[in-house]
Symmetry: C2
Subunit: 307 residues, 2 copies
């Protein structure tokens, strides 16, 4: 077997980076020549976590087939969220916690998905099943991923299993998960230094819904005014991305991690599908979604349904 690249989705978040690292380490222990790589620059939250546990940033790739014929995907499966030439390599394995869509293989493969809050919760179970010990630094990153994806266990995507696994990982990593977790989340909310483009790209994914391409970005903050105070220029950047990339609709979710609410900002059409999905009326292209913090559970299914 030649080298196997292991990577998560574009616009990597903490779970995607940590999953690539934890999955590649597990595969290496099982005898696979696996390398964790990333499809883009990591965000500040992830940088905080890597720094905290002394792990080097991942190498960034533009193409998979330039280096290998075999890959493993973590934390995603949809082709439009993956490396550009994903259809030209063989997918040996997928570990994920999202819906399955726009994913197809010619051959049988290893696919493991569970409806839990974080990919690393599943990877933790795989370590247990293979009886592979988790090193302290890898455990710290896996814990960071669970905290990030569940917003410190507040998201409706968070399951009992995520909490239990996080507790075990915190013990291995020797950190207090509440204190460490809040510091890590806050490190990811410094929006003031970000350009509008950076802000849109921090954690954005594309979805095919009906015959439309919908781009959904999400930023965390401790004050939604961080974003709303620059709404005009952000909207211009959103329209520019729609135009340049063929998105029909761009939905930006601005999530207050302290209140666990979100404001959405919408550019493109059909806006009425957004209003229908959340039973709201957009005012000045925005709406408050009370209690909404999860793109996966509280935004994507509702939008998919309304398309």
């Amino acid at each position: 077997m030649s080298k196997v690249l292991v990577f998560g989705h574009q616009n990597p978040d903490t779970d995607t980076i940590a999953s690539a690292i934890s999955m590649a380490y597990l595969q290496q222990q099982l005898g696979v020549d696996a390398e964790a790589v990333a499809l883009g620059e990591m965000n500040e939250e992830t940088a905080y976590a890597l720094n905290e546990f002394g792990v080097a940033p991942l190498r960034i790739i533009e193409s998979a087939k330039a280096e290998t014929t075999e890959v493993m995907l973590v934390d995603h499966n949809e082709a439009q969220q993956s490396v550009g030439d994903i259809k030209e390599v063989d997918v040996l394995a997928v570990v994920d916690h999202h819906r399955i869509a726009n994913f197809e293989t010619a051959n049988p493969l290893y696919y493991r998905a569970e409806p839990v809050g974080c990919t690393n919760t599943i990877i933790y179970k795989m370590y247990q099943e293979h009886e592979v010990a988790i090193p302290k630094d890898v455990a710290g990153l896996m814990l960071s991923a669970i905290i990030s994806d569940t917003l410190l266990f507040k998201s409706p995507t968070c399951t009992e299993e995520d909490v239990k696994v996080a507790e075990k990982l915190a013990a291995i990593a020797e950190v207090d998960m509440e204190t460490y977790g809040l510091n890590m989340l806050k490190a990811g909310t410094n929006l003031a230094t970000k350009s509008d483009e950076d802000l849109l790209n921090m954690d954005a994914k594309s979805f095919n819904m009906g015959d439309k391409v919908v781009r959904i970005g999400q930023v965390n903050t401790v004050d939604v005014q961080d974003v709303l105070s620059r709404q005009a220029s952000v909207e211009t950047a959103m329209a520019g991305q729609n135009e340049a990339n063929g998105y029909d609709l761009f939905v930006l979710i601005v999530t207050n991690i302290l209140d666990s609410d979100s404001v959405i900002l919408v550019v493109g059409e059909p806006k009425e599908n957004v209003e229908k999905a959340f039973n709201v009326t957009l005012e000045n292209n925005t709406a408050l979604l009370k209690g909404v913090v999860s793109r996966k559970k509280q935004v994507v299914p509702q939008l998919t349904e309304s398309f």
Copy 2:
């Protein structure tokens, strides 16, 4: 949670029926109100296995949403192989050992696929993980499924894991797997009493390849002349099915389970994709494929590639 229907693919084979039964039993032990059902009449091999272990035939359903909103799929994922209204119900879980294609959900789900010879090999591991004991009759059916899918361990799809799991199941079921296995396989090869339509429907699946719909049927025999002696009328029936169901191409694989070779019979177009896929020249619409016994590993990927 309301009742959850658990079923395998259309034209059920032994693995599909046994998977539905073993998965539903496991789910019941985990507190789910699960019922195993089938999407069509079972074949003679499966009937032999059910009879041998004293299990009643499954109820056959035409529609999922007429009875429930939630289903679990075993031994398949592609929509065209599933119940007709699969897109109108929620798929809670999939356990499978095939490629993934034409499968999409709105929500995250439990998906477990491994590139092993038989779905029941994976389900066996799930019993272990949940520490649920396998009853003797269920173990017998799970063993039957592994023997069926691997042609008594001769298929290239068979893995070490399939063999190991089969040995454990044979011990629980209290049968000699070689003797029982050959008897069961032979029970499925009695083609003389079958109509041409029955023969085509015994184990047939549809695949979207490029922009074509390809129907691939497989029958096991101890003498390929069983089928070739009635080639003219079988071809007429294949052409009739193509016409009636919109298949572009029908490939019937006639597998000699003693020699582990197959003869293919091809009706429809483009035939040249079949010749290219297997590097053969069709003579009188047939070709011998030496050493080919597995549709999944030795036919579908090659055809997919050539489309």
